[in-house]
């Protein structure tokens, strides 16, 4: 199982803050997950593949090649603007 989270303007554009993927394929990377999501929701393509979108795996910023394992929490979010 994978937990997928979306934040801020990305969350608003997609219309959801959280998805659970019950049966991810073996040996997925972050990029594979993104491809899967765009396959399921073609209308997400532009937002999810935007070059400024940051991904984190288990609350740590991760690049697209990072391998995923069951139980991981993957977050997609736009550049941060706190402080």
């Amino acid at each position: 199982m994978l937990t997928v989270l979306f934040f801020a303007q990305l969350r608003e554009r997609l219309g959801t803050d959280k998805l659970i993927i019950e049966t991810p394929a073996e040996s997925w990377t972050v990029a594979d997950l993104t491809k899967h999501l765009v396959g399921q929701y073609p209308e997400w393509q532009k937002s999810l593949l935007a070059s400024n979108i940051i991904t984190a795996v288990n609350q740590q910023v991760a690049d697209k090649a990072q391998a995923l394992k069951s139980g991981d929490e993957i977050a997609y979010f736009p550049p941060v603007t706190g402080g």
Binding site: L5, F7, A8, N52, Q59, Q60, A75, P78, V80, G83
Partner: protein, 155 residues
């Protein structure tokens, strides 16, 4: 060598935080604090308030990591980092960073470093309410390239 980190909808008292930094502390000759507040103009817009969203599971970890990086670079004793979330209005406190050190050089540098890194890496997002005459619109704040440049100059 205490580090206090708090992410909360509640306001903070600068006096209480200064007390946390200085109470029974005779080791440090320097304390530097920074407080960020909501201002009425941003990027050419009149602002009436802002909403701060965050990624709760990640923010505390990330702030703790930034404090660790600061400790690796400078001789620091106490650190306080507070960031508010939720609905804020003009003049409200947003963020507080306070550090103590034996000497001012380390304290000044570390406080600025922590703020600069927080700005570009901690998962907070501001949505500001803009006023144009009587109309109000809520818009996400865009990240600034100048903030990236400021953070990059530390590495």
């Amino acid at each position: 060598m205490d580090t206090f980190i708090r992410v909360s909808v509640e306001d903070f008292s600068i006096a209480d935080e200064v007390d946390k930094l200085t109470n029974a502390n005779v080791d440090d000759g320097a304390m530097v604090t920074f407080t960020g507040r909501v201002r009425k103009r941003n990027d050419g817009h009149d602002v009436t308030g802002l909403f701060l969203e965050h990624y709760p599971a990640m923010t505390n970890k990330l702030l703790a990591d930034i404090c660790q990086q600061a400790r690796a670079k400078w001789q620091l004793n106490r650190i306080v980092v507070i960031h508010r979330v939720g609905q804020l209005y003009l003049g409200d406190n947003i963020v507080f960073v306070g550090v103590t050190s034996e000497h001012r050089g380390d304290a000044f540098a570390a406080a600025e470093f922590i703020m600069d890194y927080l700005k570009v890496s901690a998962p907070f997002w501001k949505k500001e309410t803009r006023a144009n005459g009587d109309s109000r619109t809520d818009e996400w704040v865009e990240a600034k390239a100048s903030d990236q440049e400021k953070a990059a100059h530390w590495s």
